[in-house]
Symmetry: C2
Subunit: 280 residues, 2 copies
């Protein structure tokens, strides 16, 4: 996404330490061993064998626990910035690997689902984590609309609710849809994308954790969205549209449904960010 | 594949009947209700409401029961030829739907996995059978090497041996590989294709029905193949290579491994056919 985004400022300091300052309303730990950005930065400093330290100022624009990759944003921001300051010696894939150390602090699992698009930009597919194999997928103009209900879903709960076994029949349906989603992105075929954005395995289980999920999705499709689903492990819901106009209609639809819920929420409209973390 | 192939000759006849003649060594039924081509042609005649009949001469070049789509070849050939003779009123997707009636006679299931590439050419993904949704995937130059061991695998056995439930973990690995295979084809990335041609679910189970499968695959990879696996439900094995030279090395490797087996076998080398059934 182009927005919301985190902003990080890194400054080299002579002492070999990491000092973290948070300039936002979230009560995140500033101990570098418990802070996502701190752990990622520490992994980079070890790998690069740097002798100095960094001061890190973080202004989070992405609310933690949203499901749209808040921890990944900080982990990626810090490694991209530090890499810039030490002469750019790491590749994008290597930076994802380093940021993954930070992501582990937040999610407890080594996964690059949020890190890869944050560093590469656009749509990415993580073929493998060990070794890291990241595939960039070309895509047509697309706009995302995000609904973030202000409820907490514990990642552990979102994970434990998933089945450990699924039917081969359903797996085949998901394979078909995933393969055709990749083809739709690569060919810029919006109609095929709309038919392919269907998940019969994870979404039917996890949506129970998100109030009004079905109503929100139906209203968004009615308003012109191509399709969408749960963002990460939730509670955010994303929908994709072919134009900003459609994406804004979807935002209106989100708002109309959710203001009946009694739950506080935020909405965002953003084009797909093609370039990933930006150094300014 | 460009080869092997079936050859069909259709002639309009005044009587509203289907007469089938087989000009090959296989003892296939010529009763149009039991013959794959006859059933497919009959479905087309019903759909088009034609008042005349057809004489169908079939010379099969693809051995039945190989796993490389022998029945699909006849079903597709007959509907494409008949469509040509009645003025081309059916679309490619509609022709796949009609050919599927014939394929049912051979496999007992409504599936378009072999029909779609036979009619569309190249690589296709069948997103859905009901309704039919066929996705063409662009691809770089590729050559297939086929090993067809002359053993019989009953489709029912190949199907019953499959698990009905699989672990979500393995399903995710296959999703990753399938998605990146589609991206590799679309981007013409041979190296990514090699890494993605991995199936941890069906192949480990079905390969037990094919003598020397592991040895054949290892020898083919050693000879320069990008990857491959079981063709359809077997017994044929396919491997893909980036050049005809590599594909011929793979054929030599196939032959060296399989002549120790005591099983009769055929091998084929062919570029990927981009155009599907050809009217001559």
């Amino acid at each position: 996404l182009e927005q919301p985004f985190d902003e990080l400022t890194l400054t080299k300091i002579p002492e070999p330490v990491i000092n973290i300052v948070h300039r936002d309303e979230y009560d995140l730990p500033t101990d570098p061993k418990r802070n996502v950005a701190g752990v990622a930065l520490s992994a980079l400093m070890d790998a690069a064998e740097v002798k100095h330290g960094f001061e890190v100022e973080i202004t989070k624009g992405i609310k933690p626990g949203s499901g749209i990759g808040s921890s990944a944003a900080s982990a990626c921001g810090v490694v991209v910035a530090a890499n810039e300051l030490i002469g750019g010696r790491f590749s994008k894939t290597e930076l994802v690997g380093l940021a993954m150390e930070g992501e582990m602090v937040a999610s407890g699992a080594r996964h690059a689902d949020n890190l890869a698009p944050c560093i590469f930009g656009g749509f990415t597919l993580v073929r493998s984590v060990e070794p890291l194999d990241i595939v960039s997928i070309s895509f047509p103009p697309l706009f995302a609309t995000i609904l973030h209900p202000q409820i907490e879903i514990k990642t552990s709960e979102a994970r434990n609710i998933l089945p450990t076994e699924i039917s081969l029949k359903k797996a085949v349906v998901n394979w078909s849809n995933l393969g055709s989603l990749v083809a739709a992105l690569a060919n810029g075929d919006h109609d095929l994308m709309a038919r392919s954005l269907v998940d019969q395995i994870i979404e039917p289980v996890r949506k129970s954790l998100i109030p009004l999920f079905d109503e929100v999705k139906a209203a968004a499709l009615e308003a012109g969205a191509l399709g969408g689903g749960i963002s990460g492990s939730g509670p955010a819901i994303f929908m994709l549209s072919r134009s900003r106009g459609d994406a804004e209609h979807v935002e209106t639809a989100f708002t109309e449904v959710y203001r009946t819920s009694g739950i506080e929420f935020n909405t965002y409209v953003s084009p797909i960010n093609a370039s990933g973390v930006r150094v300014v």
